[in-house]
């Protein structure tokens, strides 16, 4: 049994970081959130562009913000509300308060200057408390790994994704979980994933999720969707959507498929999980955060620097050229599988070692460089 030193939470989850989060309920509160975080070094601002003007997504935005505020890597949360926003603030407060030490500030009660001052004071108090919390030993079965690819190239599916697949196989073998998502990038892989499903229910779920993604792709791209991959992909050597998708799902290794969950939903089983979710990285990352993954591996061929405010993200470069260009942003060079005699077994072992160092506290490049930015909330309707 492999163990790591993590942070125990009252709700039974275990974190690999111990963040104090300053959470904006609506975009109007973003500047105050940023100023509080600037005044309390170490606090993590969560800012986003929504919170009003979108009716259909209200429940998903509420749940996403609760997901950030109660994430396993979060010690305490300060909620910053404007006061008149349409997102159900009380439900967000109740949802976060049930699981984490929480403070609430309303800008319309006393203005931005006083709210910022109060916020800095509260954040410093929480940061001091958080610094007193000691890590405890837990089995890695407590961990759920998020896997993502973005800015992919022809080598992503040949070097970086299969290396992540090795980490998935190892972690699931230890009793932990790994999540693959980006439903559009599973089109064409139904027979492969259905064959790996642990039972009929999961087989039906994965078949439905991919059929829905395919139906959506055909609506947008027309009946030739199977051939309609980007021209850049075809020039890069790709042929069919199956070929591209098979490279994508390599992040899920070779283990059985335990469960299929909706966007941001927490799984009830451990093992390999599919989250039904969008291909757009920003929205995908919020879903993976909301479901409670504590750490992420992110493969890229062109170079995507983005991180997640509450989660360490390990960046894998698929090729040597990218690693040389963006070494400041890349944690692992999977291009060595092409340029040297490195085997998949060696690459997998090296990634497992890196994963263990990161869950024990070693910062990733995205953490060191503060590549958190603005959180994306899932949107599909037009604003009013």
């Amino acid at each position: 049994m492999t163990t790591f030193m993590g942070y125990e939470r009252a709700d039974g989850s275990v974190g690999v970081r111990n963040h104090v989060v300053i959470l904006s309920t609506v975009s109007c509160a973003n500047p105050v959130v940023q100023h509080i975080a600037q005044g309390a070094p170490g606090a993590v601002p969560i800012i986003h562009a929504h919170g009003c003007g979108r009716k259909p997504e209200k429940p998903i935005h509420r749940d996403t913000l609760i997901g950030y505020g109660t994430h396993p890597n979060v010690y305490a949360t300060i909620i910053v509300s404007l006061g008149c926003e349409s997102i159900p603030v009380q439900e967000i407060i109740d949802g976060i308060k049930a699981k984490r030490p929480t403070e609430v500030l309303v800008i319309q009660d006393c203005g931005t200057v006083k709210t910022t001052e109060k916020g800095i004071e509260l954040a410093k108090k929480f940061l001091a408390e958080a610094a007193q919390v000691e890590r405890k030993e837990f089995p890695v079965s407590k961990l759920m790994l998020a896997t993502q690819c973005g800015g992919s190239d022809a080598l992503s599916g040949m070097t970086a994704n299969p290396t992540i697949g090795r980490l998935t196989d190892w972690l699931v073998g230890e009793g932990g979980s790994s999540v693959i998502t980006e439903s559009t990038e599973m089109i064409g892989t139904t027979p492969v994933l259905a064959r790996r499903a642990v039972d009929d229910k999961v087989r039906e779920d994965i078949t439905r999720v991919i059929a829905d993604a395919q139906k959506h792709a055909v609506e947008i791209l027309g009946p030739n969707a199977a051939r309609a991959i980007a021209p850049g992909n075809i020039a890069g050597g790709m042929t069919t959507i199956q070929e591209k998708s098979l490279g994508c799902i390599r992040k899920g290794g070779t283990v059985p498929l335990s469960e299929v969950v909706a966007y941001g939903q927490k799984p009830t089983r451990s093992g390999l999980i599919v989250m039904d979710g969008p291909g757009y990285d920003g929205e995908s990352l919020s879903g993976l955060t909301m479901m409670g993954c504590q750490i992420m591996t992110f493969s890229t061929g062109r170079g995507t620097p983005m991180g997640v405010p509450v989660m360490p993200v390990i960046k894998l470069a698929s090729n040597d050229q990218l690693y040389a260009r963006m070494e400041d942003d890349m944690d692992f060079n999977a291009g060595r599988l092409v340029s040297t005699n490195m085997t998949f077994e060696e690459a997998g072992d090296e990634l497992i070692d890196l994963f263990l160092r990161v869950v024990n506290g070693e910062p990733t490049k995205a953490e060191k460089n503060d590549q958190n930015g603005v959180v994306c909330l899932y949107t599909y309707s037009a604003p009013f």
Partner: protein, 92 residues
Amino acid sequence: MEMVFKQVMIMDDKDNVAVALHPIAEITRVTLPDGRVILSAEPIPQAHKIAIHPIAKGEAVIRYGENIGYATKDIAQGELVHVHNLDAVEGM
């Protein structure tokens, strides 16, 4: 330092194509990971596929151990496998 130069990568034992890691010229010996040597029939651009076995018209093209499409004409060992001789699996 020893220069290492892998020519192609094969993702699964069942695959009937390999992927060129660097551009391969016409009529060049290509050493496969298992040590077998085949001859390229035409130039293979980087990240494109080369047939490592003959693939008959209508037969599945296998990569990652899975069917990625069907040969639309007979493909000889060493030939480029791309959208000119491979089409999508029906209905995806």
